[in-house]
């Protein structure tokens, strides 16, 4: 569904514009150049293509995932999650604060770390959901992200149990200094919502040929 080359190219283009803006804001805030890129986008059916979703979240081998999730409200239901490996996020937090990571720092995250991830998740997800909504003339209402740690198995269990049938997956890379961090964004929309989104994408597609 909706995985024609043209649909994917349009989605990729849209999301790259969005993350480009997020990267600009983040660079301003942390005072260092940050690059964000969306090299790939897919729409998958959670029930029949779950293996492909698992494959897509290739970070699962790292064990713990740090997930920032916002929920849509009112006219669109579902949620959007930004997923990174927890280990890489620890490095990212130190880079953001321009602090050296100590040997004594373990993998425990404190409330302050969670707040930093909440801010980063807020910026990236805002830009993606907000600007996509703008370009498609959809007004999404959503909450601030909640940040949680999952092990890969728990996370798989969590989203498979949702009632929503289709998921939009964005592969995202984050570059700060010499550190490159790979992650994913899963936008979990109901069939109705995703149909709406695709209809609008197809209209954009048609307008390209006019």
């Amino acid at each position: 569904m909706g995985n024609s080359d043209m649909t994917q190219d349009i989605l990729k283009e849209l999301f790259n514009i969005s993350v480009g803006r997020a990267a600009g804001i983040l660079s301003d805030i942390v005072g260092q150049k940050i690059h964000l890129n969306v090299p790939n986008v897919k729409i998958l059916k959670a029930s029949s293509e779950s293996y492909a979703i698992d494959e897509y979240i290739s970070m699962k081998k790292n064990g713990t995932l740090m997930v920032s999730t916002l929920s849509f409200k009112e006219n669109y239901t579902g949620k959007a999650s930004l997923i990174f490996s927890a280990e890489k996020m620890k490095t990212f937090i130190s880079l953001c604060l321009q602090e050296e990571q100590n040997d004594s720092d373990d993998m425990d995250f404190n409330d302050v770390d969670f707040d930093i991830i909440k801010e980063i998740g807020n910026i990236i997800l805002n830009c993606i959901i907000g600007e996509t909504g703008n370009l498609l003339n959809i007004s999404f209402k959503y909450t601030l992200p909640e940040v949680r740690l999952f092990n890969a198995m728990e996370f798989k269990y969590d989203y498979r149990n949702t009632d929503n049938v289709y998921v939009l997956i964005l592969y995202i890379t984050f570059v700060i200094g010499d550190t490159e961090i790979e992650g994913a964004i899963i936008v979990d929309l109901s069939l109705h919502s995703i149909n709406d989104l695709l209809t609008r994408i197809h209209k954009l597609e048609e307008s390209l040929y006019e």
């Binding site: 804001i25 100590n102 707040d115 930093i116």
Partner: protein
């Protein structure tokens, strides 16, 4: 009703500010007064960027724009955004849009997270102290281990380490059907050196001899101070009985020239006896007895020059 709501907002334990679309302050609760020392009647209707200059930074202005235009909610963490309201406290900030009679307003909620910062700082300091203590303990453990297995004066293996290593080398030799050589040696006329030049000088001689033996031995060999001026060298994996002569000849060579210790030039020599498992003995104690006896013969034959002997 309005009065009641204002009382509620003034009663909150977090900073609440309302801005209009021109970013002018239209509400500033008591908590904000406390934390900034700015009274609401002095600042109402003034642009927030004039009252809190930090908020003139581009990313805050962009955020105000997004909140007003798109209704997005923005979050700013106290860890990244230091000195948001004053120099001593840390705040998380949530920005959201309020709509009323077709007008848009921005609600700013400043949540004080200073106590979290202090607790984390304290915890980090405890963790770092524990980390340092743990590292020190590990270093001490290494020193204690070295003290338990090494001679304090020369740094060579001591008798405890010798017995531990020699029994495993003996097992290895039995399993691999190889020779295990043992050289027992001491310093010729050491008592007289001690009596003539003193114990301190004697200690320096022992350190010198220990280093000389280490230099002469192969990498896989073990030099041990057995007691007094007696040293034992274990020679594992020997293919042939005569191969010990390589080590012995290095010792001979290194003791040929006189050495200068504490400005005294002295000639030192060593007598040594050698024995082999399984040719001469089956156990480490027997090997020691055989090598000691051979050393005695060596000393009797050439007591003033470096010489090694093996009983046939």
């Amino acid at each position: 009703m309005n009065k009641l709501l204002y009382q509620v907002l003034d009663n909150l334990n977090e900073g609440i500010v309302l801005l209009n679309e021109e970013l002018q302050i239209i509400y500033w609760n008591y908590y904000m007064e406390d934390i900034t020392n700015l009274k609401r009647y002095d600042i109402l209707n003034q642009p927030i960027v004039d009252i809190l200059p930090n908020f003139s930074m581009r990313y805050y202005l962009d955020a105000f724009y997004d909140v007003i235009e798109q209704g997005t909610i923005r979050f700013f963490s106290g860890a990244i955004h230091k000195q948001m309201l004053n120099n001593s406290d840390h705040f998380n900030l949530k920005m959201s849009r309020i709509e009323n009679e077709d007008k848009h307003f921005i609600q700013l909620e400043f949540m004080n997270v200073t106590s979290q910062f202090n607790q984390i700082k304290q915890l980090k300091s405890y963790v770092n102290k524990l980390w340092d203590t743990n590292r020190e303990l590990k270093e001490k453990e290494k020193i204690i281990q070295k003290l338990a297995y090494h001679d304090k004066l020369t740094g060579a293996a001591n008798r405890s380490l010798f017995y531990e290593v020699s029994s495993s080398l003996l097992l290895q030799a039995k399993r691999n059907k190889t020779l295990l050589g043992l050289i027992f040696c001491d310093v010729n006329k050491f008592k007289s050196i001690n009596d003539t030049y003193g114990h301190e000088f004697g200690d320096k001689v022992l350190i010198h001899i220990s280093q000389l033996l280490e230099k002469s031995a192969r990498e896989s060999d073990m030099v041990c101070r057995y007691g007094g001026d007696e040293f034992v060298i274990l020679l594992p994996d020997m293919k042939d009985v005569d191969n010990y002569k390589v080590v012995a000849s290095r010792i001979v060579k290194l003791t040929k020239k006189p050495v200068k210790i504490q400005n005294i030039t002295i000639s030192l020599s060593i007598s040594g006896g050698i024995s082999f498992y399984p040719i001469d003995a089956e156990t480490i104690d027997q090997l020691l007895v055989k090598a000691d006896a051979a050393m005695y013969t060596a000393k009797q034959q050439k007591g003033t020059e470096t010489y090694f002997y093996r009983m046939e």
